[in-house]
């Protein structure tokens, strides 16, 4: 089991995570369009996508941890 975390202070609303994994991430309604994690404990079938989204964040706002 892994857990997704977002640091709202780092997030700049670029939406890269939403592009990579639209089932796992969304953006709020502004004004800064910060990340919303839709599924903080993604199923193993979504792990690869989750990891790619974490790495895709240009502002290093996303992390993934065990358990």
């Amino acid at each position: 089991m892994v857990r997704l975390h977002a640091d709202p202070d780092r997030c700049r609303g670029t939406g890269q995570c939403v592009f990579v994994a639209p089932d796992l991430f969304d953006q709020d309604d502004g004004p800064e369009y910060k990340v919303i994690i839709l599924d903080p404990e993604p199923a193993s079938s979504q792990l690869l996508l989750a990891t790619r989204a974490v790495l895709a964040c240009p502002n290093l706002a996303l992390t993934v941890s065990d358990g």
Binding site: R12, G15, F19, Q27, L55, N59
Partner: protein, 395 residues
């Protein structure tokens, strides 16, 4: 000075589809100092991991007023050109935040019907006049130009004027005074346009951001610079990705047919083209606010560096068999849009335009082919944004 021993930055390509030779060898070792064509010396960062690290490090500055900032585009000195692209926080954040709403995935997805219509109209016109066309002039350039004009609220009737000036600004072979003149003319044009939007609010990007001027979130001057950045960045880049991307897809027999047969491959084809072609060909210029150790080398405060995203995207440590183009490649983290706080604001829009363009082109022109030999294709070796100047095709 030790500068006499500094090697030149690899600059000249020997193959239109690959970065200059020399980068592969540079990636074997730590970052080195190189000399740019204008004589400046800067650190050259070439590995994927290192490029990612420097572009996301707050000790690395994008401010072009720093004395050792590597000038890849030789511009006469001036304030604010390229807007927040060449600023650090807090000014960068203050200005860029005014645009976040305009480029969210949701907003960009809502532009899909308009982009599809623009693509279909341009391709209809090509068919009408065909069966021969210059894919650059007739499709790849007008598409993003129309899209960015509509988004910003810039009259598309003026496209010849700003396409011509944008090209001059990004032509590295042009003398600085010509670049300055083109910048000045574009700036004058946009200043008049922005002044109008301040007087009479309009429901377009420039109109909406102009509403923030009375709230003192930006000045009218800053909006003019922002408009210039968005206009130039918004059409040159996407235009060249569509044209050079099409040429790349036509190189290997069967590749175009594969996309025609299975349009679900288009999205990953666009990503692989972004990686493989990396049209911001000379990299991203930065300076160091503090000493920084990159790849085992400590660079000094104030020194300039170039993060070569084209080299990073060919790093075998991140992309297996990096110099081959693969439609089925496992997606890595390509850096074609940059990384860090300055990563391309319009990435989602660029992807949307590319995906629709390649989808419709392969659907409607399954027999698309060049009418000139590859060696006659005018590659844009001296342009800040790499690509091709024309692409004569038939179908």
């Amino acid at each position: 000075m030790e500068q006499l021993e500094v090697p030149k930055m690899p600059w000249k390509r020997t193959n239109g589809f690959h970065p200059p030779e020399g980068f592969a060898q540079l990636r074997e070792g730590p970052p080195v100092r190189v000399r740019l064509p204008n004589g400046q010396v800067a650190w050259l960062v070439t590995k994927h991991a290192d490029v990612r690290a420097v572009l996301s490090d707050p000790r690395v500055s994008a401010k072009d007023s720093q004395p050792q900032f590597p000038m890849l585009i030789d511009l006469p000195p001036g304030e604010g050109m390229f807007s927040f692209l060449r600023m650090d926080d807090p000014d960068h954040g203050r200005l860029r935040r005014l645009l976040t709403a305009e480029f969210t995935m949701r907003r960009v997805n809502a532009m899909r019907p308009g982009v599809e219509q623009a693509v279909d109209d341009l391709l209809d016109a090509m068919v009408e006049a065909g069966p021969a066309a210059d894919l650059v002039k007739d499709f790849a350039l007008p598409l993003p130009s129309q899209v960015i004009c509509q988004l910003l609220g810039v009259p598309y009737e003026d496209h010849e004027f700003f396409q011509d000036r944008s090209a001059a600004v990004l032509d590295l072979a042009a003398p600085p005074e010509e670049v300055g003149k083109a910048m000045g003319e574009l700036g004058g044009y946009l200043a008049a346009l922005v002044a109008e939007k301040v007087r009479t609010p309009s429901d377009d990007l420039l109109g909406r951001v102009a509403a923030a001027i009375p709230e003192e979130r930006l000045t009218e001057r800053e909006l003019v610079d922002m408009a210039l950045l968005l206009l130039v960045a918004g059409h040159e880049t996407t235009a060249n990705m569509i044209a050079l991307g099409t040429l790349t897809l036509l190189q290997e027999p069967g590749r175009w047919a594969e996309l025609h047969a299975d349009p679900s491959l288009i999205g990953s084809a666009s990503e692989e083209l972004l990686r493989y072609l990396t049209i911001v060909q000379f990299g991203l210029a930065r300076t160091l606010l503090e000493p920084l150790t990159v790849g085992g080398v400590t660079m000094g405060a104030g020194e300039g560096l170039i993060a070569s995203i084209a080299s990073a995207n060919r790093d075998g440590a991140h992309f297996p068999d990096p110099d081959s183009f693969g439609l089925g490649r496992e997606q890595g983290q390509h850096l074609a849009f940059g990384f860090g706080m300055h990563q391309c604001l319009g990435a989602a829009l660029a992807r949307l335009e590319m995906n629709i363009a390649f989808d419709r082109l392969t659907a409607r022109f399954p027999e698309l082919r060049l009418t000139i030999p590859l060696e006659d294709v005018p590659f844009r070796y001296d342009q800040f944004v790499y690509g091709i100047g024309s692409l004569p095709v038939t179908w």
